[in-house]
Every structure is written in C-alpha cells, then in structure tokens.
Amino acid sequence: MAGVTLNDVIKKYGETQVIHGIDLEIEDGEFCVFVGPSGCGKSTLLRMVAGLEETTEGRIDIGDRDVTRLDPSDRGVAMVFQTYALYPHMTVKENMGFGLRMNKHPKAEINEKVAEASRILKLDDYLDRKPSALSGGQRQRVSIGRAIVRGPDVFLFDEPLSNLDAELRVEMRVEIARLHKEIGATMIYVTHDQVEAMTLADKIVVLRLGKIEQFGAPMDLYRDPDNKFVAGFIGSPAMNFMSGTVRDGVVSIPAIKQDVPSTLATAYTGKPVIAGLRPEHLSIDLQGDALTVDMVESLGGVSYAYLTSAEGDRIVVEERGDKRVSMGDTVGLTIDPSRMFLFDAKTEARIRD
C-alpha cells in the first residue's frame, strides 16, 4: 500500500504543453478522483502515473519510491480502461491471470488469486468464457478483476463507466465504492461525470487546461468553491450565474430585478461581479414577475423549472413539495443571501470575506 505524490509534473508534446506543473499529494488508501471537461488533461495525468505517457519534467512518487522513469510494470499500478481492454483471445480466467503469468508466479498462486478476485466480483460463473460472450458490465468487472489479481499499490481507473448504460453505471459505481472499502488500496479515478466524482471520492481534483483548479473533499468543493469554474462544475444541475453590480451593501442583479444584501464585496463597490446561486438554494416567488417559466422537468420527488429573464438569462430552480409552477407562468425568485457566491467578473475568482 502506498500513496502517490506528484511534484511539479509537466507534460509536453513537442512544443505544446498539456500539463502545467501539477503538485498533488494522494494519501495511502485514498480514493482520489480527477474530474474536468474533456481536454483538461485528466487522462494524460493518469497515464503519466501509469507510465504509459512519459513525464517531461517533475517527479512522481508511489510510496517512497521515485517512479518517474520506471517502466509501467515496475510501478506497482494496475489500470482499468474505459474500453475494458480485455484480451479477446483469452478466457476470463486467463485474462485475470495474465499479469502474474508474465511475472512468472507459480500456477497455484495464480489460481488462488484469480479465484479470490472472481469471488469478490462474482465472476465465478464466467471464468471459462471469452470476453465476447460477456455483457458490458461483466467485461468491466473482469477488467477490474484483472487489476485486483495483480495486487497493486495503486489502482488507476480511466473513465471505467463511460461505456456502460445509465443503470449499469449506477450499479458499478456502488460496486467500485464497495471494492475500495474492501481492499483499501489507493485509487485514482478519472471521470468527466461529476456525480461519479461526488459519490466516490475522498478527494476530488478539478482540472482545467492542464492545471489544478481546486482539490478537496467533495462537500468542501461544493460548499466552498475557489472560483467560478469549480462552482459551475461541481453540483447538478449546475450553479446559476448572473451578472450584477455592487452598490453600498447590496449586489443588484438585473436579471431577477433584485438587490441582494451582501457585505462581502464592499471592495468591489461600483464594479461588476458574478453572482452564483445553486438551483437547490433558490425558491420560486409566485408573486414576482421578473422571469418566465420556459420548461418544467418533473422527476417526481423534485422538479426543475427552467426560467428566462427579459434579458435572456437562463436560471434553473429546483422545486420540492406540492405547489409547483407550470410552463408560461410569470414568477419571481426568493434568494437566501447567505447562500449566494460572488465571483470577480474578470478573474472569475471567488470573492470571500
């Protein structure tokens, strides 16, 4: 078992730099999720930890070993790929035992470890099948089994659930969480799905354009985002952003025709700011007339109302309870000022006390 430390890690393809000096400490046994939009470098970073991509500069440690220049197989990592990457000509059993076979482990040991992994993942009935005879979910379980059998210090997951349908994705997500509890190994998990990030992670690392925007526990990122990007990325549906202007003690937001009291931004008096409000922290005021209900998505327990202002700003509001709005209604918003985030209109950094 071992943690992973990245020290000013840089990746360049020729002249193009894609990873810009990442510093990160992943503790032993931690479940760390790299999340970000496509092209943010999260997969590249994972592949650098795996050793599939060369690290241009900086240093990667696993446990107390410097692995920056080591071969992938010597790093003590195992990887689960989005496309499963099973060897199509081998049975499930042979797939799972391949790593140990390559490293010349005795047969008895291989059989024992494969049996153990297949028990954990409930694959006993499929051991003699070829991957082509398995469903997507089963294939991904075999792929995870192949990782377990090698007994690695660090598990690397590269968007492992993206090829599965919605229902299986939820099921496998729970299974991966259970697996982490059972094995207790360090895991690094790449996804663009913030729900996976929120539900699985001990630590979320939000990446954008090859830089870390923020990292921390999921709820910390949700409650206390450092900037507009993280605020918008974490939470579903995404946070609403409206431009406003600071005047003595209030932020006036034209989109909703309201002045929200705030003492945060006195330094910004007279300047534009961006106000961020999560759909779950807004409620609809039936007396108001600033916004029109465009569409309502009813999911049963909650519904999401999509509102538009006269200027064209779009705002999503989460509604619970019995009295809900319907399409075409004219409504206003009730805002809890303590739930409002403010961001610098230029740098998009969070404005704090």
Partner: protein, 326 residues
C-alpha cells in the same frame, strides 16, 4: 474498324445488355408471371421475391458454369483420352504419370513450395508490418517492399537471373563468392535441392509485400488499450507481440497464408523462366506446361491433380474469409 471504337461498342453492348436483362426479366416476373394484383396478390408478391435473387444471380451462375465448371469436367474427360484425343484409355494417363519419377519430383517440390513460400512470406510480412509500424520512414520501407508485387513473375525471374548469374561481373552471389571468399564461380541454379529454395526466394520476394500490407492493416486494427494493458501487466515487447497482437490477427494470418498457398500452386512462370524445370526443380504447373499442346491427355491429368490439391486449401480460405466478415 478502329479498335478503341470497337472496345467502346463492346462495353456498351455488355453493360447495356445486362441493364436490359435486369429490367426486362424483372418486368416479366412482376407483370406477367406473378402480377401484384388479382385474387392471389400477396402469394404472388412472395413468389416473385423468392425468384428475384435468382434473376440477379443468373448471369453470374451461367458465366461461372460456362467458364469454370465446364472446363473442369471437360478437362477431366479429356484426361481419359490419349495424346491425339481419339482413343479412350481410361486412367492410363494417371497411372503412367504416378509411375514417372519426374512427376514425383515435381510433386515433392510442389509440396516443399507450398510449405516454405506461404510460411516464410507470411512470417516476414508480419514481422515487417510490425517493425515498420512505428518508424518515421516505415511507409517508405513498406512501399519498397510492396513494389515487387507490381512486377510479373517472368519479370521478377529476369531480375533474379542477374542475381544468380554465373558471371561474377553480373551476379551478386558469385561476385561475393569470388571476391570475398576467393572461390570459383558456380551456377547456383544447378545446385541440387538448394536450387528449389533459390527459386522460392523469388516468389517470397514478390509475395511478402502482399502479406505485409494485409497484416499491417490488421495489426493497426488491434485496440491500443489491449497492448497498454499488457505492458502494465508486465509483458515484454516479444510477449506483447506474440501473446497479445498475433493472436488477435490469427484469422487474417490464416487468410494470407491460404491465399499465398493457392497462388503457389498456380505459379509456373518462375520455374519455367529460370530453369525450365531442369536440375530437379520441376513443379506441377511447369510439369503440366511440358505436355501442353503436345499431349493434352497427360497435361489435363496433371491439371486435375493440381485442382484436387488446391481445393481443400481453397475451401479453408473461403471459410476463414467468411468468418472474418462476420
């Protein structure tokens, strides 16, 4: 008449004729034979649709029977007659053939050809495909290796005649022998047994490019992740190649191998041009050529033997190619 004009007219008649045939035969089927009206409309439509595929296949079936099936039967029939074709002599052509030592040499050599050439050219093709894949000048190398494919076998034989030439001023092999080892020049094509191998080299030289191109495409079709997974699993480059990549292109390897085997069993030009079948280099097709137009009875008997050898390989090839398509 101008030959170009003649050619154009032929094409127009051929293509237009087929068009007319399809239109007319379909119209006949739908309007006259089973019209889609009246009391049996749905039955008629079903019947018409059962017959329609045969209408489309008919020209091909007729052409194949005329130019493939009939010649096979005709050849077999001819092989039962004597030199002049006048007297029926049963299987005498076959019995004399099997008794002749030249036939046995040709048969043995042909087996050797069929084993060596496909194996070596498939193996080399696979190796070259893999080795050139990641090289910056790989495509140039591939083009050079593919180029002999464009040369006819007779042309290739002429080129290699120079390589094997006895004059050390011309032949590379004898130049090396004389200048490096100080040995006397030697006609390599007369060295018993090995001369077979020297002839096979020519076909391998021509055919490796084919294997390389097909296998290169197949190797590129392998998901990159399976290779990466194997690397993380600790497989070394040889293990990645032989345990991960090659097994995933087995089907293609078999298709390339059998296709080359069929080709080998047809080639006579190389032997014919290089040694004329002398010095124990005879193979069945060139052996057949010896009798052609002189004793068609014996020539067709050899042809039938060749066909019997090719058929199982052919069946295997078609099966594999079909499995590939699925």
């Amino acid at each position: 008449m101008n030959p170009i004009f003649q050619g154009l007219i032929t094409i127009a008649i051929g293509v237009g004729g087929i068009f007319l045939y399809f239109i007319a035969s379909n119209a006949f089927l739908d309007k006259v034979l089973f019209p889609a009206k009246g009391p049996n409309t749905s039955r008629n439509i079903n019947r018409a649709n059962t017959i329609r595929p045969w209408l489309f296949m008919a020209p091909t079936i007729i052409a194949l029977s005329l130019y493939l099936v009939y010649p096979v039967i005709g050849s077999f029939y001819r092989s039962l007659f004597n030199r002049s074709g006048a007297d029926f002599i049963g299987f005498t052509n076959y019995t004399t053939m099997f008794a002749s030592s030249e036939f046995r040499t040709a048969f043995f050599n042909n087996v050797l050809w069929a084993l060596v050439v496909p194996s070596v050219s498939t193996f080399l093709g696979l190796l070259i495909a893999q080795l050139t894949d990641k090289l910056r000048w790989g495509n140039i190398a591939k083009s050079l290796i593919f180029m002999p494919m464009a040369i006819s076998f007779v042309g290739a034989s002429l080129i290699w005649k120079f390589v094997y030439a006895i004059d050390p001023e011309l032949g590379v092999i004898n130049a090396l022998r004389v200048n490096l080892f100080g040995a006397a020049p030697l006609d390599v094509l007369q060295v018993a047994f090995w001369n077979n191998i020297f002839l096979m080299v020519i076909l391998i030289w021509v055919q490796t490019g084919f294997a390389m191109v097909i296998l290169s495409a197949a190797l590129r079709g392998i998901p990159e992740e399976t290779i990466e997974a194997a690397i993380i699993d600790g497989a070394n480059p040889f293990q990645v190649f032989f345990k991960i990549q090659v097994p995933q292109v087995t089907n293609t390897i078999i298709v390339v191998f059998t296709t080359t085997t069929i080709l080998v069993l047809k080639v006579f030009d190389i032997v014919y041009a290089m040694t004329g079948g002398n010095f124990n280099t005879q193979i069945l097709p060139s052996y057949m050529m010896q009798f052609m137009f002189r004793d068609d009875g014996r020539a067709t008997a050899v042809a039938i033997v060749i066909m019997l050898i090719v058929t199982p390989v052919m069946v295997q090839n078609i099966r594999q190619a079909r499995a590939e398509m699925r």
